[in-house]
Symmetry: none
Subunit: 354 residues, 2 copies
Amino acid sequence: MNYETILGSVDFLEYLRGKKATFLLSCSVTKTCEVPNISQAGIPGKLYLTPTLDSEFLCTKEVRSLDDIAQTPKGVPTPALITRAIHELHPYSNIEILDLGLQIKPKLDFFKVHNFDLEPSENIETGANINAMEVFQKGVEFGSYYVTNDDYIILAESVPSGTTTANAVAKVLGYECEGYFSSSFKNNPNDIKSQVISRALNFINPNSDIFTKLGVVSDNMILFNAGFILGSRAKNSKIILAGGTQMAAVLLVVNSILQSMEGEIDSTNIALCTTSWVNKDKNSNIKALLEQLDFKINAYASDFDFSLSSHGALKLYDEGEAKEGVGCGGALCYATLNGLSKQDITTKIETLLG
Amino acid sequence: MNYETILGSVDFLEYLRGKKATFLLSCSVTKTCEVPNISQAGIPGKLYLTPTLDSEFLCTKEVRSLDDIAQTPKGVPTPALITRAIHELHPYSNIEILDLGLQIKPKLDFFKVHNFDLEPSENIETGANINAMEVFQKGVEFGSYYVTNDDYIILAESVPSGTTTANAVAKVLGYECEGYFSSSFKNNPNDIKSQVISRALNFINPNSDIFTKLGVVSDNMILFNAGFILGSRAKNSKIILAGGTQMAAVLLVVNSILQSMEGEIDSTNIALCTTSWVNKDKNSNIKALLEQLDFKINAYASDFDFSLSSHGALKLYDEGEAKEGVGCGGALCYATLNGLSKQDITTKIETLLG
């Protein structure tokens, strides 16, 4: 098991080999997830529960706000399984949850659940109605005071229908993004997503400032994490953005905000880590998104797949159904950095599935 | 997989079982390596590159200052493969490079490369021309302020033709050493080495002080690490000297310097770890070297060999071509202390070789 370098050099990741990580799961709900068939990251009609259940499962291996592990119609199990399996094999030193607007709070004792007084954001079809500046500033503030006792931070996300908001964000900010955004479906439901995005764009006044625009089309995770990245540069903490095209959108937001204020960023200590499913996806292009940044970024993809498994539900990943989420790409890179084998991880995930 | 005790008791090593290690690779070039056929630790005519390439490969799995992994004429692959394989299976928590006079700086980001403003030393055939006191004192100073966050330090070396300088050092200091020093060749090129050593000894004035003598026949690695060991006693850090007869020579220098100043050392927390290839070598005798120390020393040898491999290039190790270097003996003991199996290591090394 290894990783590929999408952009940059191996040095950042190699330096972290054997070092300790804090895992931060940033969770939010955008009511965009209520659009039928927009995402398969959860139970139809209950997608708002997914980040809550992911948090619970990652921390405790239990799904407390529902009877069963979130299963999608086709039975693609949540990528939280992957992230949790790795935690059982070679634990992250610390897991903390960032509640960036959950509809249902996760039922967790002992684990730190940071509360930022944020509500789920609205469906972007009618305008997300987010105070974008405020969410961004909460991210900046948290990023600038947050300290880990570990060597680096893995910053992950769980936001159902988040690739739709991410795509809308990139489009509104003027980036080339046609066909670049990923989906939890094998057959990217482009019609549905495009329709949602174009409806959202109707609410955009081209003369508005960047935060006003982002308040219409984005989600709390994107805004907060863009702030977190900028704020955390004060301490120059090493951060792995664990995710696919949604995390790329976070970086595009950072880029646009810097452009708007003629600012700069020392991005040396930030990298993006994703899965092979995103990296090899023919219906999206994360590299093309990252190449539009004005700053340099290291980006890697784990080469893990389910070729060693005969479990039908897991095989769906290799077929392109579900590709990222709950930081599983970052977790898989972390697994490589800590000597775990593909066989170990496969077996553990199969055990978790039961 | 296990280790043998050459001297002392198992307690030192057993205490370190499961504990965390920082790996320090001390690299230097002595132009003695330009003597034809004196060593097979690298590419003929380019042996000065070996420590640079070893550093790059250990840290990043990439050889950046050359197109291909250093291969010797007979195709004995660098022991850096062993040290790196173990890093991938059970990572050292931290790797740092000590530049003790490299001709070419390793191309590494993030990794700490300590610069001591040292140049490659001259061929001892014409006198090494080292300011031995200065290099030694740099080692003392570094040893006395260096702190690791880990439980112990593995101090390794990469110095092509370093067994020749080590042998010359032991001889000049008056130790019994006829036939005790190892070589990277199966058939120790004693004629060439003896000639180089006897030429070097022509430059020795028996009435000179120890540092003047060492300035003629040693290399920067030996001098610096002797200082490092003495300096590090202030903190009493646990140190594994990962190497064969060259590391034994470092200890002989420590011994002679202590004799000259009527000093003492608490050597409780220092041990030497080497390979079975050195330990079982009939053309050298590391135990006989270590038994001449006035202080007690724990010394161990891994029992790892390539009996599980069918790879021709690796089999050469078992035949006596290449025996140590890049701390592979210490790395193999570390592997045992952390539960790795001979099969895991063999497979990983074979994967690295491709």
